[in-house]
Amino acid sequence: MVSLLKRSLAIITLLIIGYWVAQAFAGVPFGQDKMLVGKYYLENVVNQTGSVNAVTAVVVNYRGFDTLGEVTVLFIASTGVGALLWRRKKERTARTEGSIVLKTGTRYLFPFILVFGAYIFIHGHLTPGGGFPGGATIATGFLLLYMAFIVYEIPHKSFEVTEGLVGMSYVIVGLIGLAIGGYFLYDWIWQTWHVGTTNIGRLLSGGFIPVIYTIIGLKVGTELSGIIDNMLKEEVRE
């Protein structure tokens, strides 16, 4: 019974690790005020960035370079999936057509899903959300189209061109900030042009947060749709 010995050894090791981790977290009291850096961000976020959503201001403005790294990681993953699953001729191998409820519902719901996704990433500085759930919602709309119709494919050329252009424009936004302000990803809309200083809490405020979140939303949406398309097609054998 080698496998039973291995299983019980694994469970005992995991219980020891779990007890040790729980002992460490007993020293971190749950629900007490322990903010140090967060207090500075919460007090100065409306003056320095112009957005009312503190989390998106931290993601895009205060730590914008890490978000550029994350967009790069997503790009590498999408390219990697496309490179690993590349064949010379690919086609979809679905055989069951979607039911009439699915087809009719998709045909009517798809534009509204796209509009909802765009609403999420345009209002990233006012309501919770931002670029990443907005892009994921757009990719879910395309997934619904894949499920309903067995001959549907996304238009490859326009998606790849869009993805490349918006990826480049993120770096261009940062370089314009470097040219105007003095450091990469300087918020030149809020701090030099002073657009929307009197408009806090409405759409035309927030510096370059809506611009960058539009870029991120389009990029994530097209990338995840590309990953779905690559994983669904199989090789045509002659």
């Binding site: 976020v45 990443f132 994983m231």
Partner: protein, 116 residues
């Protein structure tokens, strides 16, 4: 017995269950399910550290002053971590598909025997 909150307990159990699946199971896809459950547990642990009881979400609209908002920094970290988690899961699944096409099995012990 040590006394921790229920959120810490839930997050640590998710990490341990995911680690059990990676250690004991032999199917590649089952190991990837365990890895994904572990990532969900770690994100839950990070956000429950930043919670302050009695306060509300860090969106400073009317009525929410900076003295009545939760810590916004762990939420910014976890927002990045969730997206990177799905990217690595997608790449790992493509590698699993290629392994199946080459060795015609998904059992890791069989794959070690078919070397070369």
């Amino acid at each position: 017995m040590i006394h921790i909150s229920v959120y810490y307990f839930g997050a640590i159990s998710l990490i341990l269950i995911g680690l059990y699946a990676v250690l004991v199971k032999k199917n590649v896809l089952k190991m990837l399910i365990g890895l994904s459950i572990m990532e969900t547990g770690v994100n839950l642990l990070l956000i429950s550290v930043g919670y302050i009881s009695g306060r509300s979400a860090p969106i400073l609209s009317e009525g929410v002053t900076p003295g009545r908002a939760v810590d916004p920094i762990p939420q910014a970290l976890v927002l990045t971590a969730i997206v990177i988690g799905v990217a690595t899961t997608a790449m790992a699944l493509s590698v699993a598909i290629i392994l199946y096409e080459k060795y015609n099995t998904l059992n890791v012990e069989e794959m070690r025997r078919l070397r070369g």
